[in-house]
């Protein structure tokens, strides 16, 4: 159906729809997220890409009146089933938000938060987790001397990498990025992009972005969404050079959006 589709898809959706009350925000989306690849979702504001992203680890549960139809599978398990362990789902599918949102306690406590709450008590184990998460988030060298300072005392780009480290501490299989660089300057953005590309060796990445160049730079697959529908989905290099749909072409050439 889609070129490059393989059997190691981590997340699959089929005719997946999301509603806010009567409003149909995402319509019949069929999408496969391949392991250890970066999948980007692009589209104009309000096209439903963030809604779709947030439904993949059920962050939309927090929104009253939000319901889904159709299928969204994570390793073959229905994400939205009532008996799905949402807590474990969110541990395995982490999320990084648009605005860096570190907790107000120390950098160390920020990263150790998840493991600590889930019961890891030994200091040496926590130290290990914090060290590895910060190294993977390319933040260790910058904060190793101030682990006890507030997570809010560092720069915006560092905060966002701290949030990535906090997610990595859960050893997630998938990381969802919701426009992670829209609040950052170009240099911080470049660092995050570099980081995302380096992370795909160990995690599968889905990123929503407003920035088409960003999608072109870092993603392997791109999904173009418009008015809640998935217009086109395919290998990034192909989609940006030879879009199949007229809408996609118009959007990536900047004629609307």
């Amino acid at each position: 159906m889609v070129e490059g589709m393989q059997n190691n898809d981590v997340i699959k959706t089929k005719d997946f729809s999301i509603f806010y009350g009567d409003f149909n925000a995402v319509k019949d989306v069929t999408l496969n997220i391949e392991a250890h690849k970066v999948t980007a979702m692009i589209g104009p504001s309000g096209c439903g890409k963030t809604t779709l992203l947030r439904s993949l680890n059920r962050m939309n549960d927090l929104i009253v009146n939000c319901r889904t139809e159709g299928e969204a599978l994570f390793h073959g398990v229905d994400i939205n089933a009532n008996d799905t362990d949402v807590i474990e789902l969110r541990r395995r599918i982490g999320m990084v938000f648009q605005k860096p949102n570190p907790f107000s306690n120390s950098i160390y406590e920020n990263v150790a938060y998840g493991p600590k709450v889930r019961g890891t008590k030994k200091k040496s184990e926590l130290d290990e987790i914090v060290y590895h998460a910060l190294v993977r988030a390319a933040l260790w060298d910058e904060v190793k001397d101030k682990l006890n300072e507030s997570g809010l005392s560092i720069s915006g780009g560092q905060m966002q990498r701290l949030c990535i480290a906090r997610s990595l501490a859960q050893q997630p299989e998938v990381l969802l990025f919701d426009e992670p660089t829209s609040a950052l300057d170009p240099i911080a953005t470049a660092k995050i992009e570099e980081l995302i590309v380096s992370l795909k060796k160990t995690v599968t990445i889905v990123i929503v972005t407003h920035n088409m160049q960003q999608a072109a730079r870092i993603s392997d697959y791109t999904a173009f969404m418009y008015l809640g529908e998935m217009v086109e989905f395919g290998i990034t290099d192909r989609l940006f050079v030879h879009p199949e749909h007229k809408l996609t072409e118009e959007y990536i050439t900047g004629r609307f959006g």
Binding site: F103, N105, R166
Partner: protein, 319 residues
Amino acid sequence: MTEAKNTSIPIEMEHDLSRGLAAGATPSIPFELVHKKKFNLREGFSLTLVRTLGLTGAIILMVILAFVVYRGVQVLSWEFITQSPIESMTKGGIFPVIMGTVFLTLISMMIVVPVGVATAIFLAEYSKPGFTLNAVNMSIYTLAGVPSVVYGLFGLSVFVVTFNFGMSLLAGSITLAIMILPYIISTSEEAIKAVPYSFREASLACGTTKWQTIRKIVLPTALPGILTGGILGTAKVSGETAPIMFTAAAFFTPGIPRSVFEPVMALPYHIYVLATAGTHIEKTRPIQYGTALTLIILVLGMNLLGIILRRRQRLKKAW
């Protein structure tokens, strides 16, 4: 006046702009125009009015304080706050009175803070719009408006009589706790709601449960706000007379209470007793003012603590 001004400004601008352009000036001209405007009468008047009224409030407070301090400071001494009253309360100190108020306040806070914070958590985090939420909110608003003497009567009939606690520290503390409950609930609820939504999202996205998120992130972040409410509530509780008049306060006890089932003396009630019901009203005037001053110092001290806590919280958390 307003109309005249509205029409005059554009004309002035046009005039000045054309002159400025003719002289080949830079576009900074419009800013100059703003500064050229005449003294704004309405602004000046409002400022003076607000300043005067604000100052009046401060002056009234200062006068009351100065009066009580002037009259009370004459009797205030180490002995006054560490000794028991003697000779029909015409001499001696007010130690049991202070301790009575401290006990009443502490016990009522121990009761009201857990209940109030739990209710606030329910309201802020768990409740969904509907009958229960409306009912709880309605009760809280109504309770907040009930005069304190009504709480006193309620405490008398329920705790003193029905539960058979008698006039006691326990009955008074529970009554005070109920009186301050709406205040504790609403300040705690505000503090909890002020915790950024993004903190909750971040925590849940780490694979934690809702309760873990509340316990580990929401409550610690809201704690300074909750504490501030608690301290200001303490100040309010320690100064109330009506709720303890029928439930806990004694005319005279020889020392501090030995159990929660004994009545206690309390600062506000002591002032009331000495000033209205004693046998030596005139003779005890200095003690009355001394007691009043002690109460004010206690309340102001706690308010100050609340203010300092709130300031520190604002300085520390800049999200």
